[in-house]
Structure formats: structure tokens, C-alpha cells
Symmetry: C2
Subunit: 194 residues, 2 copies
DNA sequence: ACGCCAATGTGGATGCTGTCAACATTAGGC
DNA sequence: GCCTAATGTTGACAGCATCCACATTGGCGT
């Protein structure tokens, strides 16, 4: 057993996630994390000022991972509508696969804007492209449309993660399909078109 | 000062909300609430087994209030599309006016379905009506459409409450208008219709 | 190669918390 | 009007966050 742990910071973050998975809430104690990492109760303070700062670090990781997923998704589609769709799917998939990070990202102290702007910008750009291609309605700004799309996928993600809506793969596929249809085509009955 | 407080339960719930407003998080302590209510540290246990149960009680209040808002909103509109719209507006307004309750309602232990079914059923019914009236597309079930609408307003609400999107009255009005347009008419460019 | 400093981890102390158990007061039904 | 259940109090205990002084060691400059 070495006096210096090697990478305590990482170990603490991992332990926090692990405890979250076990208990379904971020109610762990710093001392617990220390024990988990095989270290005394004060060692964590060399890396984080407190629990809040540790959670903030996890949140950062989450935003980075989300942005990364979004970028990866974009490489798989060319036509505008499809690009928006894969972005949305990536968002929902992220929420389902990393519910701890996702929850954390929502759970900021309130009123503090969070820097998920990265993912949002990708979405806005995709809609901008669609607009340039004449595929997307032009009486609403790309920004407004992006907000609507964001609200849609963010809402679905939240509802799934919070357990209000089942999150099994089959249903999620259907949901995203429905949402895609509604977002692009609307809910109104089409009289003659299509 | 009476020995018996009169309505300690209520006082504790109010104190919890108050402290939340002050600090932007539910990190109060039960002893604090007791002090706030002018009562000793153990009195709260006569009303709540612990902090979790107290929060659960607040959550219940939230769901009840939301359902009530939804019902009230429905009395103000007759045509199907408008009915869906006012429901959505009521949802968002609720989130903005009672952000503490709203946050709490999202913040359940994870995986535990919450009983906001009441509001959801109203929404589903409204879409059912729209469908019966031939106003709403019929290749998607009312349930699916309701999910989409719910995701939309829930997403917007979450984003506003979490500070990711500004929540001032003027902008919210514009957002809801945009969302209404997108939900009903879709994001695709309309070639000849309209 | 080596010494030294900053980073990292330790040990102990303090005040606050949740929770339990025994006791005190009072409201309200009989 | 009395008695019991509901409500509030007091005291005690273990665990936690946080602060401080101290111990160990990796690695940088020479």
C-alpha cells in the first residue's frame, strides 16, 4: 500500500458514481468515498473543496461526454432532417446510458446556466443547414426551432430518466420515431398533402 | 408561546420552501426547520419520519397543484387545438411560478414513477377529442401524441427552471407560441399549403 | 546523483447533524 | 371533568464536514 494513492481524484469520482448507482441518489458522504478509495477521511479535500465541487467535476465530465456523442452522431448522417434526428437520438441515448451524469446535469443549484451550449449549437447549426436547403420552414428562426427540438428530446430524456416513462429499447425507438414525426410534420391532420 | 404549536406540519413545509428559495437547493437540515418554526430539534419527527418523507409531502402538494392548474386551464378553452395549448401553457407557468415544487417533482429517487398521471390524462383526453373532431392526425395514437406534447412542455419547463433558457414573461410567451406552432404544424417547409 | 519543496495523505479536535429513548404537556373525546 | 393519545422536550450517542498541525514522498533544479 503506497502512501500516495496515484490517482485519488479519479478514484473518488468513480466511487461517487458507483454509490449513486447503488442508491439512486447523490447522498453519499465524503468520508464514505474516502473509505471506498482506501484512504483517510481528509484526503479527498486535497482534490475537492467539498461535495459540491466534486459533483461539479462530474457534471463537467457529463457535458463533455454529451458534446462528444453529439459530434459522433453527426458523422453518421448527411441530409438535414436525418442530421437533426440523429442528434436527438444521441441526446436521448446519452440520458439513458448515463442517467447519473444526466441527472446531475439537471440538478445544478438553480438559476445557474450550464454550458451544454456545445450540443445546442450543433443542433441549431443542423437546423440552419436544413433551412438553407429549403427543407425547414422559414417563418421561425433556426434558434427557435432548435429550442423546440431541444425541449422535445430533453423532455423525453427527463421523463425517462425520472421514471415517468418506460425506457426500454423498443419503446424508446418508437418514441423517438413519434417525436421525429411530430417535430417535422406536426400533429395536425393533413387534408390532402401526403 | 404555547407548548403545542398548532400546525407544525404546515410550518415545517413552509420553512422548507422558504429555505429552498433562499439557497437554491434542498440542503436544509431538519434541525434548522425546527429552529425556524421555534420548536425543538425533535418535534419534526412527530410529523415526518425524516427529510425524505417531508420532501415527499411537498412533492404531493406539487402534483395536486399542477393537476388543479391543468383543470382550471381547461375551463378556458373549447376548441381542441386551443385546449392542448392552454394545457401546455399551464404546465410551463406552473414550473415557472413554483420552481421549487417543480424541481422537487423531477428529483425523485430515480426510477420511481411519479403520479403526475392526472395531468397527463387530461392532455391525452384533449388530444383524443381533437382526433375525434378530425383535427389531429390519426396515424399516431392519442397516447403517442400526448407523450410528444408532454415531452415538449416538460422539456421547456425543465430548461427554464434549470436556467438553461431565460424565463422572463415575454420570451416564455414567444416560446410557447413557437412550440405550439411546431407541435401542430411541424418544422418542415410547407410547399403549397397555408 | 542529490537535496529540497510542493503536493499529497494522516491524525486529532470541534461543532453540528440525524436518530433514539424517556419524559412532559396539553387537547379533546368520553 | 378526566384520561389518553397526540404533540413537544430533554438528553445522549455516533457519524459527518471542516479546520489545523504534522508526516511522507515524487520529482524538479542543480
Amino acid at each position: 500500500m503506497t502512501y500516495h494513492h496515484g490517482n485519488l481524484r479519479r478514484a473518488l469520482l468513480d466511487a461517487a458514481l458507483e454509490l449513486f448507482v447503488e442508491r439512486g441518489a447523490f447522498d453519499f458522504t465524503l468520508r464514505e468515498l474516502a473509505r471506498e478509495a482506501g484512504v483517510t477521511h481528509n484526503a479527498p479535500y486535497r482534490h475537492f473543496a467539498g461535495k459540491a465541487e466534486l459533483l461539479a467535476a462530474l457534471r463537467e465530465e457529463g457535458f463533455a461526454a454529451l458534446a462528444e456523442s453529439a459530434r459522433a452522431a453527426l458523422t453518421t448522417a448527411d441530409e438535414p432532417r436525418k442530421r437533426v434526428r440523429v442528434l436527438g437520438e444521441a441526446y436521448v441515448r446519452f440520458a439513458i446510458e448515463k442517467p447519473h451524469h444526466f441527472r446531475l446535469m439537471l440538478h445544478n443549484p438553480l438559476g445557474e446556466a450550464t454550458p451544454n451550449g456545445a450540443a445546442f449549437e450543433l443542433l441549431r447549426t443542423a437546423l440552419e443547414e436544413g433551412r438553407a436547403a429549403g427543407v425547414v420552414r422559414d417563418d421561425l428562426s433556426a434558434r427557435e426551432l432548435a429550442l423546440a427540438a431541444w425541449a422535445l428530446v430533453h423532455g423525453l430524456s427527463s421523463l425517462i430518466v425520472s421514471g415517468n416513462v418506460p425506457g426500454d429499447e423498443a419503446r424508446v425507438r418508437r418514441y423517438t420515431k413519434t417525436l421525429d414525426a411530430v417535430f417535422f410534420e406536426g400533429a395536425l391532420a393533413r387534408k390532402r398533402q401526403r
